[in-house]
């Protein structure tokens, strides 16, 4: 059975801006993948047209059908994860193995307040 897994160190879900994001990825595919990439990105969704921004990427060349790797990313200072009436900004990691199953996505929060910023809470 094909499997793509992203494990964040300590199963952490909330990070401070500037923190190190560490973890491990593993995949098990039926065939040799064409490409294997891990991406750190954020995206907006909500009423406005969605937008995504790639922050950093790791590419694994000559990847075999089953592998596991440690990873680390230094998170930037901004933008924070936030949610308002119109927009939500979410941080995520995406493990994309071409020629295997659907990408694995692990969402997390980047905020200095220990949780996602709620915009309407400040009014």
């Amino acid at each position: 059975m094909e499997q793509l897994v992203i494990e964040i160190e300590g199963r952490k879900k909330v990070f401070l801006p500037g923190d190190m994001l560490r973890g491990r990825i593993r995949w098990s595919c039926a065939e040799t993948p064409k490409t294997a990439e891990l991406r750190l990105f954020w995206y907006t969704r909500g009423k406005g047209t969605a937008h995504s921004e790639l922050v950093e990427g790791l590419r694994y060349d000559r990847a075999g059908p089953s592998e596991s790797h440690n990873f680390d990313f230094k998170l930037p200072l901004a933008p924070y994860s936030f949610s308002g009436k119109l927009i939500t900004l979410t941080w995520a990691l995406e493990l994309d193995i071409e020629g295997c199953s659907d990408p694995a996505v692990e969402e997390f929060v980047v905020s200095p307040f220990g949780k996602e910023v709620q915009l309407n809470a400040s009014l």
Binding site: A50, V55, Y60, G84, N120
Partner: protein, 431 residues
């Protein structure tokens, strides 16, 4: 989670589509121009054509039924003699095609009944070429305006699309395509240490020698008046063409009732725009507030010091209010229109001064809340912070101006910075 993947990879600004549409608009405009004005160069030559007596043989208004409406054209067959030879022509003007508006065509045909004598203009170099109206016709003006509008829109789309494509090319922001090919076993690609900081909205200010910054309003009343005037002229210019057609139809006894009713809301919008121009024009005579801050930017949790000074007469201002607002803005497309929704998530009154409280100048503290969102901007979405100035004037347009400011992310404490440095050095095998 395929939904997230599609968010990431599919929602890109349609700059390529805009570019293609722009190309199509400009190309079709040129094509239409060629079709309608292929003989227009004769308009200049015809100034020297010979005036010759002519007789109308037949005349009628021809109607051309389309999918949505019927258009009309003038058809007059006439004969004239030059150099002992008799010629026939059907050309009324140098501008071809048909258009809406029956009345004006009917009037031309009525003025040229069969057997009527009139003067036509003949090309002395080629006597077979003749024309009745050698000047610019009303239809030519209307068609020119339409073609110019479509050409202008096409050109804007073309340039806008091209500019967006170039920006995207520079940024390399496509998520799946941004990781360059490298030959190492596990190559790392970094896209900027400061994340989206470069996307922050830029506040408009001038740095003063005193160290203060003088903020510039987002849009001044005079700019609003000028901008709205341009839009109103454009809008009313287009609308007036159809209004003239409607008036023409009533005067000729063939009233176009549907066109008349259809035009009413467009006329009202045009009048509303002109009213808005008047409002902003009057607002331009108000006293002008200058807003100064001790620095241009502040991080979450910090405080800015604000000072204001009015130039002009402040006696009519009955109340003066300074506010700080945080707004989220989402831009989206509905059909062919682009909309921007705004939602205020933070609003605080920083100062409120009555008529006799010293409106002309004053100071206020601008505490930026600590536990909220910094300024943020990406295509289609933004979080913006503004200082709002409002002066209430009875029986006159109020003073209402906004000054964008930049709110930076919270500054990390020294111990947080040290902890992050230690964390960065930790080995990978800590899992």
């Amino acid at each position: 989670m395929p939904a997230v993947r599609s968010n990431v990879q599919m929602h890109k600004p349609p700059s390529g589509i805009i570019f293609v549409f722009g190309l199509a608009f400009t190309a079709f405009s040129c094509l239409f121009f060629h079709f309608f004005f292929k003989d227009a160069k004769s308009f200049f030559d015809a100034k020297n054509w010979t005036a010759v007596p002519a007789v109308v043989e037949a005349s009628e208004v021809k109607s051309h039924a389309g999918d949505d409406s019927t258009t009309y054209s003038v058809h007059i067959t006439y004969r004239y003699s030059l150099g002992g030879k008799t010629y026939r022509s059907e050309r009324y003007s140098f501008f071809g095609g048909s258009s809406s508006g029956y009345g004006s065509k009917r009037a031309i045909v009525d003025a040229h009944p069969p057997g009527a004598e009139f003067t036509c203009y003949v090309n002395p170099k080629d006597p077979a070429q003749a024309v009745i109206e050698r000047g610019v016709t009303k239809d030519a003006i209307i068609i020119s305006i339409f073609i110019a509008i479509f050409f202008g829109i096409g050109l804007l789309m073309l340039l806008g699309g091209l500019s967006a494509l170039l920006r995207r090319g520079k940024k390399g922001g496509e998520l799946s395509g941004a990781v360059p090919e490298q030959g190492t076993a596990s190559s790392r690609v970094t896209f900027g240490e400061d994340g989206s900081l470069d996307e922050f909205q830029i506040s408009r200010y001038a740095q003063l020698p005193s160290g203060e910054v003088m903020m510039k309003a987002a849009v001044s009343p005079r700019m609003k008046a000028a901008g709205l005037l341009l839009i109103a002229l454009f809008w009313n210019g287009i609308v007036s063409i159809f209004v003239m057609e409607a008036v023409d139809s009533w005067r000729s006894g063939h009233p176009e009732i549907f066109l008349t009713l259809f035009m009413i809301p467009f006329v009202l919008i045009g009048l509303g725009m002109l009213g808005g121009v008047g409002y902003f024009y009057l607002q331009g005579f108000n006293a002008v507030p200058q807003v100064y801050l001790d620095r241009a930017e502040a991080a979450l949790g910090e405080t800015l010091n604000l000072r204001w000074e009015f130039s002009g007469d402040t006696d009519k201002i009955s109340e003066f209010i300074v506010t700080l607002t945080g707004t989220e803005e989402a831009t989206y497309r509905r059909g062919t229109d682009t909309h921007t929704d705004r939602e205020i998530f933070y609003k605080k009154e920083l100062a409120k001064v009555g008529k006799y409280g010293g409106i002309r100048s004053g100071t206020a503290r601008v505490p930026i809340p600590a536990n909220t969102m910094h300024s943020f901007s990406c295509p289609n979405n933004a979080v913006r912070w503004r200082i709002g100035i409002q002066g209430v004037i009875e029986n006159w347009p109020d003073i209402s101006e906004e000054f964008p400011i930049v709110v930076l992310p919270k500054k990390l404490a020294a111990d947080q910075v040290a902890a992050a440095a230690v964390e960065e050095e930790k080995p990978w095998n800590s899992l």
